[in-house]
Assembly symmetry: C2
């Protein structure tokens, strides 16, 4: 000690990095998939090409649903995914993505960055050799496409619906029979009547698949995804080797990408929704009966999971006070302003 020289400063500060990222998304979902290339572009530009990440769409290197696991085992250095895809491995993975009836995208950002959400999620992820940062949000998703109207709980009995993971477990308590079907097969399954309903994302992504032609009832809200966080996951050992300037840069660029994905969806969804309705989609809100029963079913699932899984319990319980405070506060200025503006919209006062 004392006689060794530190490595030359330039080499330390700006090493050349070439990483691979496994995305859970196909390129056809251009907005959610686009978060991966967007992070890569921001990093490459800011470092004059020294920090490069090559992004692989779902299935190119590993199946989309394996992107997080491929990061844990070091097949790739990083992933762009949604934590709940790993919920079968450990339900606590879902807590960093979305739990039914928790937060809107706006509230989720506050919880992630300043409500302790991200820290708690990263404490959980350590056992999987991962560290994550938010990298996108879709906003509240739609409640999916249905061949028939769904007015009461009786209408849900035996309903075969393409819906996965934790959301599937919640709605199965209401009599829905969850189905696992790959994205490309959903349209044909609805057309043939093999399934009665499907959830997908929101108007912009849904509009590419033409569901309105075979299952025209388009329900809202997607109560199982009020504000799903899409995340960047990094292999922890690889992350730890980055110099501090690169770590800071990744965090800044990830947060910019996080906001930007939601802003993109918010700019695209309105026009897409109008087009869907013009081409036959019939918009329907879920009834209060269904929403209330689903909320109670979600709470039952949370009690079951909390009894079995300490990491789930810790994260879920941390959300509760934050959620209560947010939805109290939001009733004042935000909600009243939005409500007034929506009334003007209905009265035709907002457009030229």
């Amino acid at each position: 000690a004392g006689t060794t020289l530190a490595a030359p400063a330039i080499a330390q500060e700006m090493p050349s990095i070439n990483w691979r990222m496994a995305s859970s998304f196909p390129t056809s979902l251009d907005t959610i998939y686009g978060g991966g290339p967007e992070l890569a572009k921001r990093l490459e530009e800011a470092t004059d090409g020294k920090f490069k990440i090559q992004v692989f769409a779902a299935g190119e290197l590993v199946p989309g649903l394996d992107a997080i696991n491929a990061t844990t085992d070091g097949t790739v250095e990083c992933a762009h995914s949604v934590g709940y895809y790993n919920w079968g491995k450990d339900p606590a993975f879902a807590c960093g993505a979305d739990l039914p009836f928790t937060f809107s995208g706006r509230a989720k950002a506050a919880y992630n960055y300043h409500g302790g959400g991200l820290e708690k999620y990263n404490q959980f992820l350590e056992q999987y050799d991962l560290i994550s940062f938010p990298g996108g949000n879709t906003g509240t998703q739609m409640g999916g496409w249905y061949r028939k109207e769904i007015n009461t709980l009786a209408d849900l009995q035996g309903l075969k619906m393409r819906i996965a993971g934790l959301a599937g477990r919640v709605v199965s308590k209401l009599g829905v029979v969850p189905q696992q079907i790959a994205g490309g097969d959903i349209y044909a399954s609805l057309e043939k009547g093999t399934i009665d309903a499907t959830e997908w994302v929101g108007p912009y992504d849904d509009s590419k698949l033409g569901f309105q032609k075979v299952a025209p009832y388009y329900y809202y809200p997607g109560f199982w995804e009020g504000g799903p966080t899409v995340s960047f996951f990094f292999n922890k050992a690889q992350w730890d080797q980055l110099p501090d300037n690169y770590k800071s840069l990744v965090r800044s660029c990830a947060q910019a990408t996080d906001q930007n994905m939601l802003a993109k969806y918010d700019s695209k969804n309105p026009a897409a929704l109008k087009e869907l309705v013009a081409s036959g989609a019939k918009l329907r809100p879920f009834s209060e009966e269904i929403l209330t029963a689903a909320f109670e079913a979600a709470n039952e699932v949370y009690a079951e999971l909390s009894a079995e899984n300490e990491w789930f319990k810790t994260q879920y319980e941390a959300m509760l006070q934050f959620r209560d405070d947010w939805y109290l506060y939001a009733q004042t200025s935000e909600y009243t302003f939005d409500t007034f503006m929506m009334i003007q919209q209905r009265n035709g006062k907002l457009a030229p």
Copy 2:
């Protein structure tokens, strides 16, 4: 040509930059002021100290309301401010900040980054040798503090209110008499009755000033600031000299800071609102009569300004279709999800 060497790559890629930023905010408004130091910290970290910005609070170098002008004239390289502070110089400055009855913070981000808002604002700013990027948002502000209840338009007649700029021009059409009073003098003015009301920001910032003790009626929403964009302004000549990697880095770090300020406010405002109510604030929504009249007054002001100022007209009209589409779309999933969650909040179902 052809015989000169380009400058050495290292020097070009990572030059040492030392800039000064004039903030329009006092350090006591820690969250909105904090956006300046946050951008500086992100840049300094990502460049290992090569890109430094020293931030000066309002009044340290130039008065807070002169921060943008000091950037135009080159006194400083950049500013952290809100465009509407310059509205007296040119009303079109307000368009990149907020106009009454336009957008929530969520919609504003979509409009800024993907609805053409930022491009249009920067086209306008060129004549002032400026380029700007969003650098924060407060969310929908509160409607201010009032010594007496304000139920009808009659209650606004002759009301002396501390409210500035474009908002002041709108409410003056309703009979309010706008007053200009420095932040530090508001409390005493309300206590003595020199003024009847004041607007400030939202619960977190308002709670530091104790207005509930002298003007307890706390109205919402602050319809003149549905989602005000706080911006970083750069002197265009200085900006143009930055290498491309620094330009990209600034944009990424500014956008991260933009989201982060709103997330900070959203995490702090809920608890602050509860404390304000516990210490005497009486929450009141503005009546529909007042909101509707204010909306019509705002539209009159927009017609007047559009007739006088082409830059205002161009930017304002670009907002209209975007606003209409957003407030149609938002009525589906986002609003219905939030409404359901607020009902559960009122029923005591969200907290442990």
